[in-house]
Symmetry: C2
Subunit: 391 residues, 2 copies
């Protein structure tokens, strides 16, 4: 028996660990809300008032099969316990640091925690808790020059709607009137929207930090909406299905021309990248590989394995002539967490097969991470420094 | 009996009026959500699935006394009716066009509508429904040049936090590298945050439209957070209490210098305005009147009557020398809706007394409107064209 274990077994240390002194409000809480609280050992305490409820659970926000029924907060719903005032509480075991979707199930009705900010996911506003990772600060706002994220409305003739792009411009953008910048188009996942990479992903702070350290080239990052349909077109399957051709049209005929017109871009294929997570990786795969005259850098984060692809025939046999592909594509990057098993295994197998065909492919994995935003923050942090390095 | 009434009484016209053909999803719905639905006669149908619930109500989101227990959606909670599948529904009578906060009360627990976007209000993420007003489009994104709203992080030494300003820059800002612009500082209400004027208020579209029509001078609009406390300082009363001095310090020593450094402002008092709604009007009143070397235009929208002021003594007797005040202040503007009675009556009385003292004061009222965003959209639309007209 180690000394530490003895201490835990013989003293009220565990009780102390649960005291407020050893915990603090999550960074994702609203205003002065005290709950959820993060404990120093990464347990999290959740609380909701529901005096009349008969059963209340905490539900880790899980996607479907990609997540293997798991996010870093846990696998199954946690039963919460009622006190005599009708306040329900639960403390989880230590969780994985990062951002986790969650909600309460109050007598079967999903309820967002009023003490927490919400984030667009699962096709609705959803609760989320930010669990700081000890010593991990690459996605936090450090005391470095900050870029801004611009909420950019534009009229889409194709869809007959007003769409919104979130556009990151780097810290020196406003000061350097003559500078032009390469552009990364960065797509969210299924059920999320154009706010995801900023609010859940902290893409702006990741870029600010990389640029301040000289690790990434200053670039514009365009985060648009991964849904598009023409008037009368039925809603499409959003989860992992093939990206709609309408979205491809909107990108090529509306989004990219709008960005090149309104922002000081370097408007050529060598300085245009696209990446996306989950559903967004499928959109990226289709839109880049079918339009290599427009894009030269490709990033697929946590690509769902739903559509098996035949590497010899997909995209008109694009990968058959590996030499030609390698000359045109400056970066072909895949990333997944090891705790999203089907995605991880499929991605590893596909990139292995691509390499065997002679296609220059980068494969990076995040140990222990699931189909979650911490995986995608790490992916962006690893991907962005590799962009726009060819002269 | 009029012909119309006969028609209603004798035919199934009311049933037709309730059919989907006569209604559509609210503009504030998420994705493909069908409910809430707005009917052509401005009735609104709400729906939520809660099979195990015993009682479900629709609650119009009301502030406290300022609202007189009323928003444009209604006064009291509406009981909803359960169908045999556990779906609860209610259709309101015709409502006031505009934006209305609301939530469901499911066995006593407040629940946001999963079919609707949420908006920061009541110190949490809250449901809201947008009811289009027939022929009213001054706050909609028209096909005109659009400015952007920049999410601008900055480090506040005073509060030891990273704060966020939402900064509107007008459509021509990026193209005119040498142009400089006047600045309006625009504050949200109690329980809301820096996102309110963009998401609930559509301030950016109101300015875009005014600028396109030549009615307002292109300006920068800075929408910051109406809360500030120093490390160790206790949370302050947020509703209508006196603006904290900390916020005043943050404005004068951090926000304004940051904006003047990062944006192409005309950095003098003649080109600096401040306005705010409800709690934000109290902050505006204090921060401008105590700092007339910094501000020259003042806008008070729906000022709560909580603190009676003595016009002869407030702000060190500022209003005693009306001539001096009038020479320094280019615009002293008050606005309220007639359906927020205490605010309306107090504002009307105070501005009357100010005028009697010789103080140049503008008083504008919005007939039939309550303590709600439609009132403040109209106020901004009326206020912005009056700004920065003196050479």
């Amino acid at each position: 028996m180690t000394r530490l274990f003895m201490l835990l077994a013989l003293t009220p240390a565990l009780c102390l660990a649960q005291s407020p002194a050893d915990s603090g409000p999550a960074p994702s809480n609203v205003g002065n809300a005290e709950y959820p609280r993060i404990h120093s050992d990464l347990r999290v305490t959740f609380r909701i008032e529901a005096p009349e409820a008969r059963k209340v659970q905490l539900v880790p926000g899980m996607g479907r099969v990609e997540n293997n029924g798991y996010n870093g907060l846990g696998k199954d719903p946690y039963d919460m316990v009622r006190d005599d005032k009708g306040v329900w509480t639960v403390t989880t075991p230590p969780v994985v640091p990062g951002f986790h979707y969650y909600w309460f199930l109050v007598d079967g009705v999903p309820v967002n925690d009023p003490g927490s900010e919400t984030f667009f996911g699962f096709n609705r506003q959803t609760g989320g808790v930010e669990v700081p990772g000890p010593g991990v600060d690459f996605y936090l706002p450090k005391d470095v020059p900050h870029g801004v994220v611009r909420i950019q409305p534009y009229h889409s003739r194709i869809t007959d709607t007003v769409r919104t792009a979130y556009v990151y411009t780097p810290p020196d953008y406003d000061a350097n009137h003559d500078a032009r910048y390469p552009v990364l188009y960065l797509q969210h996942g299924g059920g999320e929207d154009e706010t995801g990479w900023t609010r859940q992903g902290h893409a702006n702070f990741i870029l600010d930090n990389l640029i301040a350290e000289g690790k990434a080239r200053p670039m514009i990052v365009v985060m648009d909406r991964g849904y598009a349909r023409k008037p009368g077109e039925p809603p499409r399957q959003q989860w992992g299905g093939p990206a709609s051709t309408t979205l491809e049209e909107v990108f090529l005929r509306e989004i990219i021309p709008m960005i090149d017109a309104r922002y000081r871009t370097i408007a050529d294929r060598d300085h245009r990248a696209m990446a996306g997570l989950s559903m967004g990786s499928g959109q990226t795969f289709q839109i880049t590989c079918r339009n290599l005259d427009t894009f030269s850098h490709i990033g697929l984060f946590s690509r769902p394995p739903d559509q098996d692809i035949e590497l010899k025939t997909v995209f008109g046999g694009l990968f058959i002539d590996a030499g030609a592909f390698n000359r045109r594509v400056h970066l072909f990057y895949w990333n997944a967490g090891t705790a999203e098993p089907r995605i991880y295994q499929t991605g590893k197998a596909l990139t292995g097969a691509l390499k065997a065909m002679g296609v220059d492919t980068v494969w990076v994995e995040s140990p222990g991470l699931a189909h979650e935003w911490q995986t995608w923050r790490l992916a962006l942090n690893d991907f962005a420094p590799r962009l726009f390095r060819k002269p």
